[in-house]
Symmetry: C2
Subunit: 351 residues, 2 copies
């Protein structure tokens, strides 16, 4: 991490404290061996490890980590707060889970742990950052699902808590961010459906105040206007039930749109089931286009066409940038790969 | 947590250390207000909070947490290790994600954090427990996906790391465990399919050395033998591709089983798509029965019959037991709710 300014309380750790040198001397092994043994790393025999641990125990050795933490040094831990809604629907939120998978994988490779906490709302989330910062429990945090004028940005800045934002520079407000060009992707999605011959398109999207929802909506509407298409948006809270309701309304509306563009993959999977329930054929009667393309899109028949985004790779990319920030890199904006269309069998010309 | 034996190095924290009393005196507020302000809790005005934080900063106050940690006190953090395979397929592993959701929710309510780490294999996992224990990074851990004679049991015991096992007492070997009666549930599943008239049943299951896979397999086979049914098992690694292959083999085998019992829900969802692809009608040509019943089972058409288990509730239950262990409760075995059949539209008598 950025090396913190020395704090007066560094003196709280007495200079004559027991060090691994003392342990090495008493155990009759090298300092390196002591370090390996105490940190649970390979490089020493089990016998040596045991001897070192026994001596450390006898001498009352304090783990390095706690001492370093007291001195304000790094924790080798990164924090991620999840909104409670996410936790309740975790089993069916492929995006979040692939993202966490990418984060956790890079952290593990770097020898970092990941601290996760579920919160009921924004105030609780801000409390967590305060707690993490005061308790020096994490070196930095990842901020996701940003809203317009998100107070979390200001909060982590005030706390001096290093952070990386999963979102565009407009919302990151000078913090390091990693983002995908959702506008360009939404444009491609609409152009693809238009090229197939669709003139009346429905969009099933998330809560209107989430930044990426807004960005996609604007790009979708602009592109539709440019191409002379009709476009209507249904907002959901990303739950299975609200997604099902949206697709049902769309399929029963007059005139009936011939294509539906979803904002996630769970919505599209659910939409496919609703189409079958109402006896609409996919893609003959209605084309469905998913977004983010988790494996879920390939568990259906027909498999779902999707705007593909390597979410695991995105989580990994963002985490590498956070590690750079922790190492002292200045704030920067990093563009991740733009989602691209992966046509499968759920999209076709309208019949 | 269990209050640890005093360690000689407790003396490393000088008794004359700055306390919140000093901060209260200097800031001219009560000790309670200082505690609220420093811990980011409600109960003080923003002005007071700011004054306290400023004074604390001036005096070089060391956050309580780090000091308590150095003294060997609790970390208010629980650790959970995820196998790497899980991370890669996180987006499509509803069980794991609902489980984590339950764990995280209870921890948040109790003011605990959750430390997660992804590992490539068993050795790496054991290293993580060593690191967490030595560095006093967690108060306790949750062990999942136990294998027969699992070395993790011995490892956490040797480290003195409090743990709760997600599995039956046979594998927990004296540690506190929370388990579901998978044998009884498997028996119910087979009896249900038999009652519908199925005589030839296929089972799509996970890796053969996972404890719950074994338990279900034995119960399934015993019940089938009792009822004079034919039962055959296909093992997968829980990936979408291996699940698809298993269902394809089953549907193309001669004689063709008339019902398939899955070990998870993703497998059943994928199986439904394979049936449609191969032009088998569900449930007329083949009945499908899922296990664990995440929301995913209701995103399909027909919606999937399932052995329902409240996985979020299970994660929550287990976490409450871990908090009891950390508070000093003796080891105990706790049975969670037994999964029960939820019939939907994917099961029917064979035609």
């Amino acid at each position: 991490m950025k090396s913190p300014a020395p704090r007066p309380d560094d003196r709280a750790v007495p200079p004559q404290r027991l060090t691994i040198k003392d342990i090495a001397a008493r155990a009759g092994v090298s300092i390196g061996s002591v370090s390996y043994a105490l940190n649970g790393r390979p490089g020493v025999s089990e016998a040596t490890r045991l001897r070192v641990l026994t001596v450390a125990e006898e001498l009352g050795w304090v783990p390095d980590n706690a001492a370093r933490r007291l001195a304000g040094a790094q924790t080798d831990t990164v924090g991620l707060v999840l909104p409670q809604g996410t936790a309740k629907s975790l089993g069916v939120a492929p995006w979040f889970m692939e993202f966490i998978g990418g984060v956790a994988t890079v952290l593990a490779e770097a020898g970092y742990g990941m601290m996760m906490q579920v919160v009921a709302g924004l105030d609780a989330e801000l409390d967590v950052y305060r707690k993490w910062s005061r308790g020096r429990l994490v070196d930095g945090v990842i901020l996701v699902d940003l809203r317009a004028d998100d107070p979390r940005i200001e909060a982590v800045r005030t706390l001096g808590l290093p952070a990386v934002v999963a979102g565009p520079p407009e919302v990151a407000d000078g913090l390091t961010c990693v983002w995908t060009n959702d506008g360009a992707a939404a444009q491609e999605a609409v152009r693809y459906l238009a090229a197939l011959g669709h003139r009346d398109i429905a969009r099933v999207s998330g809560p209107a105040d989430i930044v990426h929802v807004k960005i996609r909506q604007r790009a979708t509407e602009e592109t539709a206007a440019e191409l002379g298409l009709r476009i209507r948006t249904w907002h959901t809270d990303y739950s299975v039930e609200s997604g099902r309701r949206a697709t049902r309304e769309i399929l029963l509306s007059t005139p009936r749109p011939t294509a539906i563009l979803y904002d996630d993959d769970l919505g599209a999977v659910t939409g496919l089931a609703v189409a079958r329930e109402l006896n609409f054929r996919v893609p003959e009667d209605v084309s469905l286009l998913a977004w983010d393309d988790s494996n879920l899109c390939q568990t259906t028949f027909p498999p779902l066409s999707a705007m593909s985004h390597d979410v695991l790779g995105y989580g990994a990319h963002l985490t590498r940038r956070l590690l750079e920030v922790l190492a002292g890199a200045p704030p920067a904006s990093h563009e991740d790969v733009t989602p691209r269309i992966t046509p499968r069998a759920s999209t076709a010309p309208p019949s």
